[in-house]
Each structure stands twice: as structure tokens, then as C-alpha cells.
Point group: C2
């Protein structure tokens, strides 16, 4: 799947991923009204609004982008109907040729991580039959429990040729509280980065590993160091746009070949119609606003890469 | 909810929690056969088997125990039907008067943690109405992202009088890989423990905080130190029984008042009928085997506490 991600990025020329993190506040009133008319102000109604919103954005951007990253929390908050729409979104995006990164940040002890791996990137056995429960292409994984929490994911990545991005240095303001603590003079995130490199070498695609890393756009200097520590890891970079990261901050996350990083934007793309810059589209044409925002984001990053 | 957990523990005299982590391998053949007969070898069939298994164990143990801890991964692996049974299990256990600890180990950046908090221990707003999506009483939380990943959970704990247990030192063999790294001569888990203490003081119940900690039974010496660092935190102790922890290892997790810790056993209770010790019950009477295993576990821990 890492090979397909790299192919998709080369084909579109867009090292970006659209974060499908649909808070109800981002969804235009007319979409919510239609959904509530059919299903009432219920969890089913909220889930339907999310689905209609996602579908329009995917339809309007899928030819420009290699991948999407649905954040499962935004679906899980609407209970079972929300999770049904998570699954429907995964399947729809795959039909459109997109690589789907499930942002699930799971991680537990061995047998439990194995269950998460089966559920999200693998298969589960029921008697003589096997099923694909959620079927993402990549997932995000939390490393706090160490190798035996990560190995079950690694095993399934190898078996199914799927991938994962392990949290190394997250984009949020307080990520340093634990991640930046110095161990023999070096921050914890570097140790985690070294582990990502080691785990990743056991699961190589053609040029990059099935095992990538999450490093926030908001910490470009750390990205530079981590790029060196994990040369074979694709870096998933959140924090662009709404969280403050800019194109010029991102160049060090990429390798010399212009590959090696994929930059996420969620609110900046899916709620673009709410920004002054794209206000002319109006809420009615929110999908077109997202399309314009994708084009602008790609230009920003490409421009920065050309000028580095 | 921490007050009710303490009350339940005092009433039952059992500082234990039964981990409802139903792998299909643990479920007796006759239960699976009945479920597959009705629903086929499908995700629905697997979920039904899990439900029947859980219900029998809860019915046979609920008068002896204060709480249960369903591990959501074991349900999530069966997709939407699995998660429906997770929810049904939460509700059924609450009807039986049990406190439900959702072992979900979520944790993300602020707005995403807020969505998880709403979904699992809070309410979600849909238009003018609000809903309780999963409705656990406590959850487990991963601290790797720092305070701004934890604060949204803390906010909901205060609003809803719910609780959480934050991963400090996990029970698995490789937990030390990151958690034991020394920072100015002190292990990372102690820093996390200090944070748990600080977060917890902002959300106090009558004698203990809404904010507890997870510390593995497999590391009793570390439990002793952490007990001192977080005097107001209830400690959820996994790793008893199948993972190797014994009653005498557990005494230091408790305060002088005999409170302050709740010990989890999953496989050791729910799959007790598979152990030689309880084999006489037979697979047909697996619930009675679980009841006997609960009684033995309580005796083991009480005996150790009396002899300390």
C-alpha cells in the first residue's frame, strides 16, 4: 500500500492528504437541514449530514489528491450510526481510487493491538469465514506501550501489505510535555523515531517502508532531524493551515527526491467555504471551495519545495 | 462516579474488576454454535456469541464485583455488530448496578480528544437534542500527547461526574522501552504520574479523584513509588493472573485504608472454565467457573492485604 500511496502522489503531483474530520459546525446548514428532515435531529441524522458532506468534498477533490484521512473520533462521537458512516466513507474513497489513512491512534498490549489491527487493516476470522471489518489502507498508531504494542500492527501490515504511521512528534502545543523530555541529552521523540526506523526496515515497500511516522508541521526543526533519523519512513505531517504550519515550514520533511512526506489539512480544506478567501463560493458550493483550497495548498507546498 | 466506584468496592469487599475481553477462543463451543445457527458465521454471529458469553458471566458474578472493564478492541474487531454489542454490554452492566470502565485508551489533540470524550463519557449535541453515544462511566486514556490531549477528557469528567484512568506504567513486557527512560535521573512514568496527580486535583470526588492511573501488576516496585506520587488517584491494575501478577505483588498499590486500587483480571475470570483448577464445572457451566474464580481472586487479594 505504501507503493500505491507513492504512485498516487506522483500521479497527482500533490503530496497532500485531506482530513475528513467533519465536525457538525463545519457542515453547511442546508446539508444538515436535509439530513435532519429525513432522519430527525438524531445520531442517524448527524451521521447522514456527515456522509453527504464527505461525499461532496470527495467528489469535488478526488482527481486532485492521492489520499484522505478520516479522523475516527469525529464519527465515533455519533455512536454506531457515526461509525457506520466512517466505514461507508472508507469504502467510497477507495472506490474513487484514494488511499485511506484511518486516523485512529490505537495502541495497546499485544493481544489487544492484534484485535485493533485485525479490525482496521486486517481480517477477522469467524468460524470458517473471514471478514474485513473497517478496511482502511493505513492507520495511525500510538507507541507509548513500546514494541509489543506495535508488533501486532507490523505483522498485519506485512501480511496484508497495509501501512501505519506511528506518532513520533505530534502537532499540538503541549506535545513537548512528554515527547521532548531529554534522555541522555536527546529528546524522547528521537528515540521513538529510531524505533520507527527499526520497525520499518522489517516491512519495506519498493522505496519506502510500510511504517511511517507522524511529525507535526508546527515543529519544522524537529522534522529536519527526524527526516534524517528515519530515511525510509513516509512522514504524515498534520498541523498545516489552521494549526499554523506553512509551506516553507514543510520542506525539511521531504527527501531530496521530493517524496517522503504527505501533508494533512482538515479544516483548511473541508471548511474552506467559511474562510474569507473562499467566501465567494458560498455555503451552497462548499465542495468547489474545498477544490480551490486543495489547489492553493498544492501550489504553496510545491512552490516551497521548488525554492528550497 | 469515583464515589460510586468506592461505594461499590466497599459494599462488595472486592477491589477487583472483571475484564470483559471476549476473544472468540474463550467462548465455549455451544455458545458459538447457537449464535452461528441463528446468524451464520458472520460478524453478527460473532457479536451474538460475545453477547451471550458476556451476559452469562455478568449474571453469575454481578453480586460479587463492583465493576467491569470491557476492552473495546475485542468488540471493534467485529466491526459495527461488535461495537453494537459493546454498547449493549455497557448498558446491561449498568442496569445490574456495575460501574463500567471502557478500556478504550484514546488520546489525541484537543478537538479530537473532545470528540472521544463526548462519545464515550459525555453527550453529543445534534441540533437541539443531545445524545449519549456509548455512555461508559470511566474510560482509559493515553497521555502521549500531553495536557492538551487530556484536558478535554478532564472537562467532561467534571461536567458529567465521570472518570478516567490514564496510562502511566503499562503491564506489558516492553512497556519500559519508552516509559522507563530516565529524565534527569527519573523515569518517564513518574513524570506522567505527577501529571496525573496534578490533573486529578482539579477533579476531586469525596476522597479520591475522578482521575486515576493505570499501573501494571507486573511492576510492583514501581507501583509502590507511584502510589506515593499520586495519593488521590485510584490505580487500575491490569496484569493479575494470566499476565503473571499475584496477590502479594499488589499490596503496595493500595493505600493504608485498603482502598485506592482496583485489580483487573480478564482471561483468568472469563475463561476460568478452561483452567485445570475449574475444569470440573465444564464448558456448559462456564459462568459458575467464572464465579468461583472471582471468589478465589478476592480471597487472594484480601489475604495479601491482611498480611501486609
Amino acid at each position: 500500500m505504501i507503493n500505491r500511496l507513492v504512485e498516487n502522489i506522483k500521479r497527482t503531483g500533490a503530496p497532500i492528504v485531506v482530513g475528513l474530520d467533519p465536525m457538525l459546525d463545519y457542515i453547511p446548514e442546508h446539508v444538515k437541514e436535509n439530513a435532519f428532515e429525513e432522519f430527525g435531529e438524531t445520531l442517524e441524522g448527524a451521521a447522514e449530514a456527515v456522509w453527504q458532506f464527505n461525499k461532496e468534498i470527495v467528489d469535488k477533490t478526488c482527481d486532485l489528491i492521492p489520499a484522505v484521512k478520516p479522523q475516527i473520533a469525529m464519527y465515533e462521537q455519533f455512536g454506531l450510526p457515526g461509525l457506520a458512516v466512517f466505514k461507508r466513507t472508507v469504502e467510497y474513497c477507495q472506490e474513487k481510487g484514494l488511499v485511506v489513512i484511518g486516523d485512529i491512534k490505537r495502541g495497546d498490549i499485544g493481544s489487544t493491538s492484534a484485535a485493533y489491527a485485525a479490525g482496521h487493516i486486517g481480517k477477522v476470522q469467524v468460524g470458517s469465514k473471514s471478514y474485513i471489518p473497517f478496511g482502511e489502507d493505513f492507520i495511525t498508531v500510538n507507541p507509548y506501550l513500546g514494541s509489543d504494542g506495535v508488533n501486532p500492527f507490523l505483522k498485519v501490515c506485512r501480511e496484508e501489505k497495509k501501512g501505519m504511521f506511528i506518532l513520533v512528534k505530534t502537532s499540538n502545543p503541549s506535545s513537548g510535555e512528554f515527547q521532548d523530555q531529554l534522555i541522555d541529552g536527546r529528546p524522547l521523540y528521537e528515540l521513538v523515531g529510531e524505533k520507527v526506523d527499526a520497525w520499518g526496515r522489517e516491512a519495506m515497500g519498493d522505496t519506502y517502508s510500510y511504517v511511517g511516522a507522524v511529525v507535526g508541521a508546527t515543529y519544522p526543526e524537529m522534522g529536519k532531524v527526524l527526516r534524517r533519523i528515519m530515511p525510509k519512513a513516509y512522514i504524515l505531517v498534520p498541523g498545516y493551515g489552521a494549526q499554523g504550519g506553512k509551506g516553507k515550514d514543510l520542506v525539511h520533511f521531504f527527501n531530496e527526491d521530493g517524496l517522503g512526506a504527505i501533508v494533512n489539512s482538515s479544516r483548511g480544506i473541508i471548511a474552506a467555504y467559511k474562510q474569507e478567501k473562499y467566501a465567494d463560493f458560498g455555503a451552497e458550493h462548499f465542495g468547489d471551495a474545498s477544490r480551490a483550497a486543495v489547489r492553493d495548498m498544492v501550489s504553496d507546498i510545491k512552490g516551497a519545495l521548488e525554492n528550497r
